[in-house]
């Protein structure tokens, strides 16, 4: 059983970028700096693994901040290729 405090428990969700839509506006990272970093061209680098309960609010704000709608919260196995 997962005995971690509720706020640290993973949500079963992750942040996912549609790389074709993403144009590197860099507006996501400031909303969720613990989860999203930026590379030297302004494109997001997502910390691997699920979002924790306590990070969910920031993650949702980051999703809302993307002008290209390239960022979304999805189940962990969402983009498995085969």
């Amino acid at each position: 059983m997962d005995r971690r405090p509720k706020e640290l428990k993973p949500t079963g969700l992750k942040l996912r970028i549609d790389w074709i839509l993403c144009d590197g506006y860099s507006l996501c990272s400031p909303e969720a700096p613990d989860v999203i970093d930026l590379d030297e061209w302004g494109y997001p680098i997502i910390r691997p693994g699920p979002i924790a309960e306590c990070e969910l609010k920031d993650a949702k704000r980051a999703v809302g901040a993307c002008p290209m709608s390239a960022l979304s919260l999805v189940p962990l196995d969402f983009d498995k290729r085969s």
Binding site: W19, I20, C22, D23, D39, I45, R81
Partner: protein, 416 residues
């Protein structure tokens, strides 16, 4: 060409310097496919054969067909025979289509029957002229089998045009660029129908396994490997070309058959531009087999064996490949477009004797940063090749970076 005893299967029959095998010759040699696939449980046979996809990713062919055959609903499906061989150093798909087109067609028909597809698309690289004309004539010869369900589509130029989502995109819209997954092509592909995209060599083997069975397929193979495969041998060899080998045949044996020696070979590129470099002395005894190579951190990929001679510089050779791969980016995803360009530029500065401080560190930092950050696996494959170059040619890269001079050629440029 043969190695030791004759293990040719796809390439059995007439020599490869002549015309494509016509349909009457094909059935005289191999017999016609039986009407209806029900005679043999083809999916079960493919699963039991252990045949892995030969487009590069090596996914089990039987499992791929099974997943499509078991799809829910009653929607019709599409089979795409993928003959877009964008890999510049590989020639096995175009040789196969140019000389044994009916094996590819047989395989596509079997796949269509097995998964319940009512449409077959033969997708052939527009630059593969001999293959295109052979496939075109062969499809016309098979009108009775194919009816109106088959069409030939010329693949756009480009390394990424053979990637599964790009294949579907090209057939649907004419643009040979990858698309975001999901949807997977097996769920929504050509004309929004579930689509099986299968490499032409894999289909051709299915055509033989349907005739002779999985046990027959597994009678070939060495050192515990089972089956046969097409490989392209090129680079520093006298007799470059396409060979059909038993899986498990050592790299060195294939290379020597093509006229190479380990003493004159610095390194080998295995699996394609998305593959890996290996030191010739380490790789010479390595069995060419997907599982063995994977466990050694190497790749069978599309079956490429490219040889770099001892007199050549690995930094320079890698720069050529990285320039190609950076240019081949579909330019849709930032980390691929900018990351591969930055890596290629740094590699080229190193190779050309004009390194700037931090070029090597930049490459080392961008390799892990780039992985997984694209709609397709183009950036992943490219940085895998780069990582293997740093591993195999580490001293060379360090010397270029420190002195601006090549260890091999003693000139600044890595080229004599």
């Amino acid at each position: 060409m043969t190695l030791g005893h004759d293990t040719r299967r796809l390439l059995a029959g007439p020599t490869l310097d002549g015309d494509p095998e016509r349909y009457p010759a094909h059935i005289a040699r191999l017999g016609a496919l039986r009407a209806g696939a029900a005679d043999r449980d083809i999916i079960g046979s493919l699963e039991a054969s252990g045949l892995l996809g030969r487009g590069g990713a090596g996914f089990p062919v039987g499992r791929k067909w099974r997943a499509l055959a078991d799809r829910g609903g009653k929607s019709s499906a599409v089979v795409v025979a993928n003959g877009a061989e964008g890999e510049p150093a590989s020639h096995k798909d175009r040789i196969l289509m140019a000389h044994r087109p009916h094996l590819v067609i047989d395989g596509a028909i079997l796949a269509a029957e097995a998964i319940g597809a009512d449409e077959i698309v033969f997708y052939v690289g527009r630059e593969h002229e001999a293959a295109l004309s052979a496939m075109k004539s062969a499809i016309a010869e098979r009108k009775a089998d194919l009816g109106r369900r088959a069409k030939l589509v010329q693949a756009p130029l480009g390394y990424v045009a053979g990637e599964a989502t790009a294949v579907v995109n090209a057939i649907n819209t004419g643009k040979g660029k990858p698309t975001t997954v999901p949807p997977r092509v097996s769920e929504r592909g050509v004309g929004k129908k579930p689509t099986l995209v299968q490499n032409v060599e894999s289909l051709a083997y299915a055509a033989l396994i349907a005739r002779y069975g999985d046990a027959w397929y597994r009678t070939a193979g060495r050192l515990g490997s089972k089956g046969t495969a097409l490989v392209t041998v090129s680079g520093a060899v006298k007799d470059a070309g396409v060979w059909e080998i038993e899986l498990g045949t050592p790299v060195g044996e294939v290379a020597e058959e093509a006229g190479a020696t380990v003493a004159r070979t610095r390194a080998v590129l295995l699996g394609g531009y998305f593959g890996t470099w290996a030191n010739a002395s380490d790789a010479w005894a390595l069995p060419m087999d997907p599982a063995t190579m994977k466990s050694a951190g190497l790749a069978f990929g599309c079956g490429l064996l490219w040889l770099l001679p001892t007199a050549s510089c690995g930094v320079w050779a890698t720069a050529q490949i990285m320039e190609y791969l950076a240019d081949a980016s579909a330019a849709q995803c930032g980390p691929c477009l900018f990351g591969l360009r930055a890596i290629a530029d740094a590699n080229t500065r190193l190779a050309a004797g004009r390194p700037t401080a931090g070029d090597l560190a930049l490459i080392e930092r961008l390799i892990p940063q780039t992985v997984g950050r694209g709609a397709c696996h183009h950036p992943d494959g490219a940085v895998q090749l780069m990582a293997s170059a740093l591993h195999v040619f580490g001293e060379d890269f360090a010397h270029h970076a420190r002195t601006g001079v090549c260890l091999v050629t003693s000139t600044p440029t890595g080229v004599r």
